[in-house]
């Protein structure tokens, strides 16, 4: 028997006229998971969420919730609830009426509604606000009411469409922590749409990185950051260097040739590359170091790359300094060095420096 997922998408396609918003997406979201759909605007993440909610119907493919095929089931017949980007609180109802709405539609007994509304308000710590209208609340409070209105129905899955997008940075950070804690407390599967990679990395158990309607990679935050599957993911998540290379060998070891003709090793190469292909070597700025030319060992380790260059630019950013180094062929790389060295001479523009990294951190990706 196959595992039952909280939500499963099988080869889902959504077209709006000629535009393909979601292109053959398959996802398995586990029970109790905090799962994020991450990508730039227009990548299809919101459309994917809206199809799970039932606001949009897939052009082809199937969506399963708790193992049940949803087909053309309307939103009111699905065991999911949504927290909308603009909260979508009913302006003509009080906070209390907003929260009670879903239960009233489901004909929950009056006294139980009352009890659960009180519980939900306590959960989001807004007990005193029951009689207010949404307009009388701050953005953060409205956000929490929207959350309470959805969670009070005890959905199997909670869908959140950029719920923190309208809040200011400080409040957003606080709400991220609160949301994550809440999710762990209630144990409900969260599917969270965001374009903010930091938000996704902070909160998620797993993340699906999307672009142009395609899922590029699904994995845990660490996995996605450390082992990006392709150039889009490497570029979208965090900061990275792309050094143009040519593939020299793929097995038994991965070797590529830099623009200067120097050959270096790499830890991983994207599937589909063949010897002779043009590619990029992707490496994070904090995975690299700078050495004085005389510091390079006489018999360098094969697993370490040493590439000479010239420091062209320095940016001090507090915790560390970003060093831009031009390699022999003019390719510029950014090296982030933490400002922890005591008494050492800082690097200066124009100085010759050897950029060095562990081959295991270098990933060869298609251009």
């Amino acid at each position: 028997m196959t595992e039952t997922y909280a939500v499963e998408l099988r080869d889902v396609v959504k077209k709006f006229g000629d535009v393909t918003a979601v292109n053959h997406v398959s996802l398995q979201i586990r029970d109790g998971e905090f799962f994020s759909l991450l990508g730039p605007s227009g990548c299809g993440k919101t459309t994917t969420l809206r199809m799970i909610a039932g606001f949009e119907m897939p052009t082809s493919g199937e969506i399963y919730i708790q193992g049940e095929r949803q087909g053309y089931r309307p939103p009111n017949k699905r065991p999911v609830n949504t927290v909308f980007q603009n909260y979508a609180l009913f302006p003509h109802m009080t906070v209390e009426e907003n929260i009670a709405f879903g239960m009233e539609m489901q004909k929950v007994p009056k006294d139980e509604i009352k009890r659960r509304v009180d519980e939900a308000l306590a959960m989001v710590r807004l007990s005193g606000m029951a009689k207010r209208k949404p307009k009388q609340l701050s953005g953060g409070q409205q956000q929490r009411i929207a959350l309470a209105r959805a969670l009070v129905n005890r959905p199997k899955v909670l869908l959140l469409d950029e719920p923190l997008g309208a809040l200011d940075l400080k409040l957003r950070k606080a709400m991220q922590i609160e949301l994550k804690a809440l999710q762990e407390e209630v144990g409900i599967t969260f599917i969270y749409v965001t374009h903010d990679q930091e938000e996704a990395l902070t909160m998620s158990d797993r993340i699906a990185v999307m672009n142009n309607g395609i899922v590029h990679q699904v994995g845990g935050p660490e996995d996605i950051y450390e082992h990006p599957a392709d150039r889009f993911v490497a570029d979208f998540i965090g900061e990275t260097n792309f050094i143009p290379v040519k593939v020299v060998s793929l097995s038994p070891e991965i070797v590529v040739e830099l623009g200067t003709g120097q050959k270096v090793k790499a830890g991983w190469a994207e599937e589909g590359l063949t010897v002779g292909d043009k590619a990029v070597l992707s490496i994070r700025p904090e995975k690299m170091d700078l050495l004085e030319p005389q510091e390079v060992p006489q018999t360098p380790s094969e697993a370490i790359a040493y590439v000479p260059g010239t420091v062209t630019h320095l940016v001090y950013v507090g915790t560390d300094t970003r060093h831009t180094v031009a390699l022999g062929d003019g390719t510029e790389v950014v090296v982030r060095l933490q400002n922890i060295y005591v008494g050492e001479e800082p690097w200066e523009i124009g100085e010759t420096a050897v950029v060095t990294w562990n081959a295991a951190h270098a990933r060869i990706l298609k251009e």
């Binding site: 909610a53 606001f55 009111n76 979508a88 709405f101 539609m105």
Partner: protein
């Protein structure tokens, strides 16, 4: 002067408002006061008034002869309002749900009839509805569908039809404005919270469109109650509304005080009806 204005922004406001205030005082408030005063005076021989105080005019308004017309006018105006609402709401809903690029064109199309003179459009109805020579009856009889002409003209039906036709766009526009402002995600939220599409309409769309419904109803009800062109043409000279009687007092009977009294009573009745209506919609808004 300029300096003084800059220092006192409230003076600027007064300056801007001076002209419209003057206009309203002279051409709106003053006539209203005149009508009020005239309704308590005796009629002059050849129009005009004698400055003698009397309550006879007011008393005459409640004479069954006129009061019946009063009630009939109310009945016609209420039915007209209900029918325009029933026709106008779906129309407004359809326009509001159309793609934004098409909405303006549809609103524009709705306004096109206004380009033609109201009188001409009402006479056009006459050619359609007339009992023996009207296009509808002639056609139906030629086709053998009916053997006797249908009573399409010279009755309440004809007046209501003419009024509905004339005031429909006025009902649609404010409802459209309310529905167009309605955030689509509110409906999605309702559906998401287990509401059927009917319940979502009943609990979200309808209550949030009530301000438009109220505005539209007022804009239709008030001119319908005071209508005199439509009943004069389509009522066939038999079916009259209060507007016809008032115009007759001024233009035919030269009884200005009685015309004024009728106007006054109608205005007060309208005010009361409006207040009741506002209260009722407020309550139904709260209930849903």
């Amino acid at each position: 002067m300029a300096e003084r204005l800059r220092r006192h922004p409230e003076l600027q406001a007064w300056l801007v408002l001076a002209l419209p205030t003057l206009f309203l005082l002279v051409f709106f408030m003053a006539p209203l006061v005149i009508v009020f005063v005239y309704s308590f005076l005796e009629r002059g021989k050849y129009g005009g008034v004698e400055w003698v105080f009397t309550l006879d005019n007011i008393r005459r308004v409640f004479d069954p002869l006129y009061f019946k017309t009063f009630l009939r006018s109310f009945y016609i105006a209420i039915v007209t309002t209900i029918v325009t609402l029933i026709l106008g709401y779906p129309l407004a809903y359809f326009i509001a749900k159309s793609p934004p690029s098409r909405r303006n064109a549809l609103v524009f199309a709705l306004m096109i009839p206004f380009w033609t003179n109201f009188l001409i459009r009402t006479y056009a109805w006459l050619t359609l509805l007339r009992t023996h020579t009207g296009l509808i009856n002639v056609t139906l009889m030629n086709w053998g569908i009916i053997s006797h002409p249908l009573p399409l003209y010279g009755n309440d039906f004809a007046i209501i039809l003419g009024l509905v036709y004339g005031w429909l766009p006025v009902m649609v526009l404010p409802i459209y404005a309310a529905l167009e402002r309605l955030d689509e995600s509110l409906l999605e939220a309702a559906r998401d919270l287990y509401a059927s599409s009917y319940k979502a309409f009943r609990k979200v769309t309808w209550p949030l469109s009530i301000p438009g419904v109220v505005a539209g109803s007022m804009l239709v009800f008030i001119p319908s109650l005071g209508a005199f062109v439509t009943p004069a043409i389509l009522g066939g000279g038999k079916t009259l509304m209060i507007g016809n009687i008032i115009s007759n007092q001024f233009l035919g009977a030269h009884d200005w005080p009685f015309g004024s009294a009728l106007s006054m009573v109608m205005m007060i009745a309208m005010l009361i009806a409006t207040l009741i209506y506002f209260r009722w919609t407020k309550k139904s808004e709260l209930m849903s």
